[in-house]
Symmetry: C2
Subunit: 352 residues, 2 copies
């Protein structure tokens, strides 16, 4: 029997509820596939601040680094919004990404046929969309120095080094090799030096992947093209802030933000989380959709090379959606039965 | 008879064709409303580089500053893409904006009832959308120093000063007072110091407009909300790069990018241009839609306080669209007759 040590970060808001369901499903698939998961919980975000006064305690970093993978829920909430920046939940998450070396964030925008009407875009525009955003996650303007603020002015620095661009470009081209062999690199090279630099290095790396078609797109045009014709994209390669904006836009295009997972990789351990936030307004009410987190657990299994187990989870989700089970967020879309968070977890666990 | 001196910059690609039609319509409305326009042409962008080796000649800056308003087409094209940055058409436009002090870019996203199907979003989502993006245009990361690039790294600086944020915030709140009294300010204050600063100053300025409701939104969330429910917005206030991305996204939401005008103001002279680009692939073919430029001319008339003349143009456009005339870009959407650029100009000129 294979054994994996999983660091579990439930976080804030709906985090605990949705992570609990992912664990339920992991345990269920573990029985079928003969895999054992040892979970150890760590604190992050508001929960960590409340407990120990630090949104990213050293123990959390250490615990994650000692595990085989990290399963993460969500952080943040109104409660912590007026804290000084370095105490806020978001700072905790940024620090964790940096300390774990998670320089690549991978967000597939998957369309579920059953939910094609959940998008505000017309079904014929989104049917068949199959794209993934590869976002640089530990560089760019998020971490750039110098950064400064006083009463009269403030600034941040959008900076990339050769090594940072090279390694994220490799992730994107490798991803493309597993998919439709097309990379669209996003920048603002008509205005920014850092984007000109980005573009040059991406071109260099592209030479190592002659089978992959590379094109470049300005970020403003990309924001349009994602709406005009999202099918044109396969792998979207972007820096940190452009990726933050475009991956959220892409997720809204496919409609059901409660369904989309993400993987952050690059260091010695990967972190897996739903793309949605902590939804403090419905926290604790068993209304949240756990599917994005359960799919994140499936991405985690792929990362651990447990491909059968991952496939079982994905198939079980399709099955449950096809049977018409929906959490309240998707009640309008061909629901046969509306179920709560825990019941949705039970159903998926049952069908794995 | 009132007389206005209009600096005309036709620019590159389809620029000359579409500006010619705007002039045709201005002349026609001038006859009815007893206004005389004196036009003087100036060079910018690729056309200026080809003629005098400089994408923004001093003569153009001087000519614009001496005029009552600037009517502008579009710049750029493949032809000039491999020039060094400071020679490229885009650099010419950025320099002109800076030299004319055009710190506020105003882009209404208007829905034309006849073209509600031209969007890839569902009609019920976009029907009734009425928003305007107020984008800071001469600061932020576009102009921030230091900026740098070598073989190993590159960076740009996103910087705002108090004065820069104050003046653009005033533009947004004043705009809101003329509209639905709601401002949504976009930033990334959970990560960036420059955004925290932006948010603080916007809050200060808001106190001077107690009737206007202010809310703040992170830029990633805004990229989602524009697709999820664009009707929630009235005035969107943003910095330069976020505004570049979000205003293009907003224009695509309403569908018909060939219809949307913009005004750049703040200095002693305003500049009016369509939001679309120079479309080099169809340049010179009389296929371009001149309506965005003609509507920009209407915004110019509003700026000159010629409100009747502006209204005549807007009504004429509505009339022509209602009659079913369409340029090729909108041929699919309830066209009764597809007409070319010049014919579209004739029709609008006729109905003013
Ligand atoms: C919470 C925030 C700091 C974070 C980011 O901007 O990276 C979030 O928006 C995300 O995309 O994971
Ligand atoms: C051409 C380019 C420099 C420009 C910008 O980014 O400002 C354009 O995209 C715009 O929005 O007017």
């Amino acid at each position: 029997m294979k054994t994996y040590n999983i660091a579990v970060i439930k976080g804030d808001g709906i985090g605990p509820e949705i992570v609990n369901e992912a664990i339920k499903v992991l345990n269920s698939v573990g029985v079928v596939e003969n895999i054992k998961f040892n979970y150890k919980e760590y604190l992050l975000g508001g929960a960590a601040y409340d407990a120990v006064g630090d949104p990213c305690p050293d123990e959390t970093i250490k615990g994650c680094l000692e595990s085989d993978a990290v399963l993460f829920g969500s952080i943040g909430g109104y409660k912590w919004e007026s804290l000084p920046k370095e105490k806020r939940p978001e700072s905790g998450l940024l620090k964790l990404r940096k300390e774990l070396g998670l320089f690549a964030n991978i967000r597939p925008a998957i369309i579920f046929d059953e939910l094609v009407n959940a998008s505000t875009l017309k079904p014929e525009i989104i049917k068949g969309v199959d794209l993934v955003v590869v976002r640089e996650l530990t560089g760019g303007i998020y971490f750039g120095e110098p950064r400064y603020k006083d009463k009269e002015k403030a600034y941040n620095t959008m900076i990339y080094t050769r090594e940072e661009v090279e390694r994220i470009a490799h992730v994107a081209f490798k991803e493309a090799m597993k998919r439709n062999k097309k990379v669209t690199s996003i920048d603002k090279a008509n205005v920014l030096e850092v984007s000109e630099f980005w573009r040059e290095i991406v071109e260099e790396i592209a030479k190592e992947y002659p089978e992959v078609e590379l094109n470049h797109m300005y970020v403003d045009n990309a924001a349009m093209q994602l709406i005009r014709n999202p099918k044109q994209f396969d792998v979207i390669l972007t820096g940190n802030i452009f990726g933050d904006i475009l991956s959220d836009e892409a997720s809204m295009i496919v409609g059901s933000i409660g369904l989309l997972p993400s993987a952050s990789i690059g260091g010695r351990v990967g972190l897996f989380e739903p793309i949605h936030g902590s939804a403090p307004d419905i926290a604790g009410e068993q209304k949240a959709n756990p599917i994005a987190t359960i799919l994140s657990a499936a991405m985690m299994l792929e990362y651990l090379n447990e491909l059968n187990a991952a496939k079982r989870i994905k198939d079980a989700i399709k099955k449950v959606l096809a049977l018409g089970y929906r959490t309240p967020d998707l009640a309008e879309f061909d629901a046969k039965e509306v179920v709560n968070t825990s019941k949705m977890g039970d159903l998926i666990a049952k069908y794995v």
